[in-house]
Amino acid sequence: MSTYCTATVINHKEIVPGVWKMELAAPEIAKTARPGQFIQLYPPDERNLLARPISLSSISKMSVTIVYRVVGKGTKQFSCLQVDDMVHVMGPLGNGFTLLDAGTQNVIVGGGLGIPPLLELAKRLHGNTVVLLGYQDDPFMAEDFQRLGLEVHIASQSGNYGFHGNVLDMLKNITFPVGQIFACGPRQMLQSVSMWAKEHNVPIQVSLEERMACGLGACLGCGVKIQKHGEQDWRYLRVCKDGPVFSGEEVVWNG
């Protein structure tokens, strides 16, 4: 069950240049939210009709926390919100990650702004979890994962931080048998990690993005090409309702 309500900003700060972390008091949403779900956040300037989908990064009893990058008009407006300001929000939305039984070797793979949605997942995963985080340059939130006591590896494209390269390279270097993968980040990254997973016969869940209008599954705006096992052909499923988390094998990447 999702709700549409007004949430109050209770914490808001820029964690690295252009990337903001915002905590919203929204008990109704927090109550039922699961890792991998998202909210629709409505820009205060009503010339912008559409809400912006932003993943839940962490979930507490009364509030949810999101981490977002300022890329355009909507996120620019969010970054101007002050503590105690109110904002319209709908959620929790989407399917979230599927948490399997304990005892597996989990690998969490995050790239850039795909990292925040993985934090709540990391908290809740059973079994052993290794976290691979890739950045353009400046890392952020790595310490949040470390604080959970997990093994965290960092890569940066610039080579200024951690491993010089991308998460795929780090994944290839893993020596133990990977049980399952959870990935979120740029499409290119998700595709290459999914290819690797397929080759190695490892189940993988990926969280995808697409432009949204309703966020509820009604408008069919947010299509992603999915070919289910045993189906003849792909069809467009809805990122907002059937996703955002899909099996990496079922996504038709080249299209």
Binding site: M1, S2, T3, Y4, Y42, E46, R47, N48, L49, L50, A51, M90, E210, R211, M212, A213, C214, G215, L216, G217, A218, C219, L220, G221, C222, G223, V224, R235, Y236, K241, G255
Partner: protein
């Protein structure tokens, strides 16, 4: 329930004059999580074709100032699955069911109409803005002769009251409206989207994969209202007005222009409670202004 808001269109009585605009509300299931579907005068479902349509490539959505571009391309699972899943779902609610149908050829239109002839639905809405694949891809809805022909053909199969939904992309909307009526429309609805475009100046390409999409939302309302007004003054069948309606004030403008009922589309995305807030707003306005029936204000603009 409040009989003062009852509205009868082509013999079908809605409890209030507010429905959803096709394609913006699915078959109601999703919005039903947030609002009480029993509140709606009618639910107009997304376009249904004879067979499944895959729809257009993504991105399919672009936000504009006070508006939205979409190029969904009428993705739908086809009449069969719709009849199996959606009609029983909708029939649980005390609201009228309007099925919006589409096709790329005259025979596809007829086939889907026939498919619904014996179904338990209240009205059929014929979307004539689809590209006419047999005749170069221009929309059916832009030529009065084609409009009359397609309405007549479909009429033959339809058993429910038939609403014809007009495309605004024409030189003279009244000419098209008259053609639809002479083809046998029991009611008209308008407007469908205008075609629009948006370009990402950083990527130097259109935002929609399809380049051009249907423009909806508050930005089209002045045009929609003008066309609804013109059509109400040129045909005798009831008109369902839509295009940018977001508030009860907007809805009342259409009713004063002569519309029998209104549909709410893009506003649902901006505010999922839009439909019920509009219904409540109209009721409140009637109360404050001591209006006991919408007839007192309907078409008051001469």
């Amino acid at each position: 329930m409040d009989s003062r808001m009852e509205t009868t269109i082509a013999g079908v009585t809605w409890k209030n004059p507010v429905t959803t605009a096709s394609g913006t509300f699915g078959s109601g299931r999703e919005y039903g999580e947030l609002i009480d579907l029993n509140r709606l005068g009618a639910i107009t479902v997304k376009g249904v074709s004879e067979e499944a349509w895959k729809g257009n490539p993504v991105p399919r959505l672009a936000e504009t100032q006070s508006g939205l571009l979409n190029s969904i391309g009428l993705q739908n699972a086809g009449a069969e699955l719709f009849i199996e899943n959606d009609i029983p779902f909708l029939r649980q609610y005390d609201t009228k069911i309007i099925v919006n149908i589409c096709g790329h050829t005259l025979s596809q239109y007829c086939a889907v109409a026939e498919r619904f002839a014996d179904c338990d639905i209240d009205m059929l809405e014929l979307n004539i803005s689809c590209p006419n694949v047999e005749e170069g891809g221009l929309s059916f809805g832009t030529d009065p002769h084609v409009v009359e022909r397609v309405v007549k053909a479909v009429r033959h199969y339809v058993k429910q009251p038939l609403i014809v939904k007009l495309s605004p992309e024409v030189t003279d909307i009244t000419e098209i409206a008259r053609a639809a009526v002479s083809g046998g429309a029991d009611a008209l609805s308008l407007i469908n989207t205008l075609r629009g475009m948006k370009i990402d100046i950083h990527k130097r390409k259109p935002i929609l994969a399809n380049k051009i999409g249907g423009y909806s939302g508050p930005g089209i309302m002045p045009v929609a209202l003008r066309m609804a007004y013109e059509v109400c003054h040129s045909v005798d069948v009831p008109v369902i007005g839509m295009g940018g309606i977001s508030t009860f004030e907007d809805a009342l403008q259409f009713i004063m222009a002569g519309a029998e009922a209104v549909a709410v589309g893009t506003a649902n995305f901006h505010n999922p409670y839009a439909t019920v807030e509009i219904i409540d707003g109209i009721r409140q306005y009637m109360k404050e202004n001591k209006i006991s029936s919408l007839e007192e204000i309907r078409g008051c603009i001469d």
